[in-house]
Symmetry: D3
Subunit: 69 residues, 6 copies
């Protein structure tokens, strides 16, 4: 499926913390920065996410803010 979602950043799962209904997944982006995702525990289980796995982090462009020094 091709997506309208502008931001599709490739990386590797670095850490997974499972909560009661939500989970925090950290992804080391290819190229060197890190992204944190707050997704449902159900999604982590359905995707069978594990540390070291290749994933794509997706973000709709309307969710991106910019900061300048």
């Amino acid at each position: 499926m091709r997506l309208s979602t502008r931001n599709q950043l490739t990386g590797t799962v670095a850490d997974i913390t499972i909560g009661s209904v939500m989970a925090i997944v950290k992804v080391d982006l290819d190229g060197g920065q890190q992204v944190t995702a707050s997704i449902t525990k159900d999604a982590v289980e359905e995707l069978q996410l594990s540390v070291g796995q290749k994933v794509t982090a997706l973000v709709k462009s309307t969710e991106v803010m910019l900061g300048v020094e």
Copy 2:
């Protein structure tokens, strides 16, 4: 100001397209991937964004989805 926002990715403005009230800004992330932000035209003008400028792309962790092949 220190922010709760988990994702703060550094990069350089690659392209700016100004619309009627919104604008699309593309940022080349340090390390090699690209992020697109849909922000208000007002914000582009207030921050005086220009191509080549160093910026930080910010995304709340609740806005990040993950995909696996």
Copy 3:
């Protein structure tokens, strides 16, 4: 690609309005309700969206609110 995104609703494009940098796409869901998406004009063009096309509307669960009478 399998997605963490909990909501993947199938439907048919009913209407597309292209703005300066954003676009509004209305999707008739299979089963009878309608969803409106505000996405970038670039996405509409890249996906070559057209009225009558089968699409999936995706929404992260953290974006869904509930109302009761």
Copy 4:
């Protein structure tokens, strides 16, 4: 109150899972698809949500993405 929110989908609560501070609510849409909402535990309690209850799932149009095969 009339809302700017473009997407107001009617349905019935199918499942509620309460976490520590967040909750996951599944809603069977009228017409046959399902939506999952991640909302606060406080909201579930204030609205006194229960399985079988009629609800409206609300989503801002800027939160909807589209996918095509």
Copy 5:
């Protein structure tokens, strides 16, 4: 309709700028701060928004970030 949406801030429309498909509405909150909303042009027209009108600005709690000096 009672909403799960945690943030419902009352105020008065201070300014409306209509774009091609989106619109920017500024709301002076009761108590003295200001909120800006990027909503669809369709929503502005359907709600017949006008400067001076009493409105409620709604924000899902998962969309709120915090900053500290």
Copy 6:
């Protein structure tokens, strides 16, 4: 860092509830209304948030909806 984020509301932390991976923080806005933020537990700890602390609540304009009676 100056931000594209249109909404930066000042206030004081009124309440913090820590969950398993998420947390709920209530902020009394200067001027008298209240905002609730669902942020990660990690963010609460990193910012060392405490009741009575001065904070800024940030919301991207694309996340704000409007309601009228």
